[in-house]
Amino acid sequence: MSITIIYTIATLSAIGTSAAVVLYFVSRKFYVYEDPRIDEVENALPGANCGGCGFAGCRAFAEACVKATDLGDLNCPVGGNETMNSVAGILGLESVKKETRIAFIRCNGTCDHRPKTSNYDGATTCAISASLFSGDTDCQWGCLGYGDCFDACDFDAIELRPESGVPKIIDDKCVACGACVDACPKNLIELRKQNPRNRKVVVACMNKDKGGVARKACSVACIGCRKCEKECKFDAITIENNLAFIDSDKCKLCRKCVPVCPTGSIIEENFPPRKVKVDEKLVTTTEN
């Protein structure tokens, strides 16, 4: 064994050992106590760091849970009840069952329904287009179609549909984190109660203009005629500012409002075909 090798091994060992000793003492001196339950809770969380809970990432949410005395206000939308049950188990708290929600883009102003009245040539993001003008159609409330919601979604739950001009939420992937809701400059996206088999009955319109103006801009606009309000036996529909709104928490999915809407503004999704004959033209899904 040449002397070089011996010296090398000796020097490196000495450096390694002294570094280890220094690090040991430094870690002792700067030790920060953290409740070990924070790590346990964090491991139970999905780890997507999406911010849907309202905190800055999963660790921050874990810290909030450990500090809390009751989990009523704390919810991880991505993990849902399963995750919150685990967290409750770790912390020895009551688990509070929460309803899952799912996002919906409340606009059906596709190219077929809503003709263009100008040709937008600026930067193709919804935020910039919205800050320039009311949009390249006569409906100032409708979807711009450039996909800021798609860019914001961390879960691939939004599908851009350039042919129709309005994106669609993929129900199975949506975790209701709320990123798209914040991203949409037109405030078109709503987190609604998730029903079994993802069934939904929604007014796919946000147009608050008077009926005549709305209808001229888009053939499936809500004109605020109140027919749906009258039809609903469960008080789920309210009309405000020429616009109908179906409260997803009250709606029982009976679908009676859908055929009475004169413009086809109310959408029903994931239902079996109707047994009673109804004018097909009046029944709108987001496919047409």
Binding site: D121, G122, A123, I128, S131, F133, S134, D136, Q140
Partner: protein, 443 residues
């Protein structure tokens, strides 16, 4: 050596097609829509209702706060209704529809054309008259003039600068006004000097208007304290900070107002309106608009009543040419593209520009090649490529650190970018967001 601002600037083709065309009066329309929000600040509140008869010059909407101003009827007739109509932003704004009958003016207005040089030199009375007359900045910014004439506490005006630069390509309304109404403008300047209590006024005119420079230089000798300076032709010389720098050599500090360096800037059109308001009791209800474009059959400078539909102006200039790609309200660098030609002319409408299809379409956006042309042309010394990146990625604190709020939105960066990147689109967006953050911080 002509004076100019030192940092940045571009030289777009001037295309002053209408420089030699005298101002023509556009015939009265059959109906008008007069918006109540034609200025910076709170919109005015309507004081007429359906069925009311109005005369030219009558107040139809009253100022609703200090930073606001009155709106006067530009026609005589009957109020059809007070309603909403989409403006250039596409959003409906409140205004007053009037069916035009005849052309009766209110009695106070002196319709004679003789020059009146005497006026009551009381500063407060002048400012009050200007306020009553609804005068706003007519270069396009539409800031209420009476607010500008009252410096904030502790600040004093030293010099009045008159903006006769008109650096935007195509526009010539200020140029024609200087050639056709030089005496009225000079009297207007003396009125403003008394209002501001300054002894010195300078008119800045770009060197591509030699006839106006010569005429005003000759005539200003008849008035005390007024000078004319010819400025190098460079966009955006007409920007108020750049004008102050070129004429006085002083730079308005970042985030500050011109009054901080003792300067107050007014457009020549505004100055003419001040003359008419103070000397002829005529409120602001008409203005000169340049209708122009390479394919327009008869480009002209038209004297138009506020509220006239832009479609009538375009018709008077020969109609919309075939293959028109864009209609712009204002100049090509800072004007607003209209979705429809049925928007009304307002106090800030300096021009209507029709651009052919081939020129209207933007080129494909390419990656940034870091050529730094945007940095070299920015008149505020900013770095547009960087501000665009941080605005795009929504890193607004860095945008604020890099002085995004100093941007005057002149468009030089987007103009020069060889990769056709939408620099100003994103910077404007970033400015909006940073502005929101700053406002919420103040609360």
């Amino acid at each position: 050596m002509l004076k100019t601002f030192k940092i940045g600037g571009i030289h777009p083709p001037e295309n002053k097609l209408t420089a030699g065309k005298p101002i023509e009066v556009l015939p009265l329309p059959t109906s008008v829509f007069i918006p109540v929000g034609q200025h910076i600040g709170a919109p005015a509140v309507p004081v007429v209702k359906k069925g009311d008869t109005v005369r030219v010059g009558q107040v139809i909407a009253k100022s609703s706060s200090f930073v606001s101003t009155n709106i006067h009827s530009s026609v005589s007739g009957t109020v059809k209704r007070v309603d909403f109509l989409a403006d250039s932003s596409g959003y409906p704004k409140q205004g007053i529809y009037i069916d035009v009958q005849g052309d009766e003016w209110i009695e106070e207005i002196d319709r004679s054309t003789e020059l009146v040089r005497e006026f009551n030199p009381d500063s407060e009375k002048i400012i009050s008259k200007i306020q009553e007359a609804g005068i706003v900045g007519m270069g396009g910014a539409t800031f209420p003039t009476h607010v500008k004439l009252v410096p904030p506490k502790g600040m004093k005006a030293e010099v009045l600068l008159i903006n006769g630069v008109e650096c935007e390509p195509y526009l010539t309304s200020d140029h024609r006004l200087m050639l056709e109404k030089p005496d009225e403008i000079l009297v207007g300047i003396t009125i403003l000097m008394k209002a501001l209590k300054v002894e010195k006024a300078v008119i800045g005119i770009e060197n591509n208007k030699p006839d106006a420079i010569e005429l005003l230089s000759k005539k200003c000798k008849e008035y005390k304290g007024i000078d004319v300076i010819a400025l190098k032709v460079k966009y955006p010389q007409g920007g108020e900070k750049q004008l102050i720098k070129a004429v006085t050599g002083r730079e308005v500090p970042s985030g500050g107002l011109p009054i901080a360096v003792g300067a107050v800037v007014n457009n020549v059109g505004t100055t003419f309106a001040v003359y008419e308001a103070v000397q002829k009791n005529k409120p602001l209800f008409e203005r000169v608009v340049t209708v122009t474009g390479k394919m327009v059959p008869n480009p002209s400078n038209l004297l138009v009543r506020i509220g006239t539909s832009t479609s009538l102006l375009v018709e008077a200039a020969g109609g919309i040419p075939e293959k028109t790609g864009k209609i712009i309200s204002g100049g090509p660098m800072m004007g607003k593209a209209l979705a429809s030609v049925n928007v009304p002319v307002t106090k800030g409408s300096s021009g209507v520009l029709l651009i052919p299809d081939e020129e209207a379409a933007r080129d494909q956006v390419n990656p940034c090649i870091r050529c730094s042309k945007c940095v070299s042309v920015c008149p505020m010394g900013l770095e547009p490529y960087f501000l665009m990146t941080v605005s795009e990625k929504q890193i607004f604190d860095r945008a604020e650190e890099h002085h995004i709020m100093d941007c005057i939105e002149c468009g030089s960066c987007s103009y020069i970018c060889p990769a056709s990147r939408p620099l100003l689109d994103y910077i404007r967006f970033g400015k909006g967001k940073v502005g929101q953050i700053l406002r919420s911080r103040k609360k």
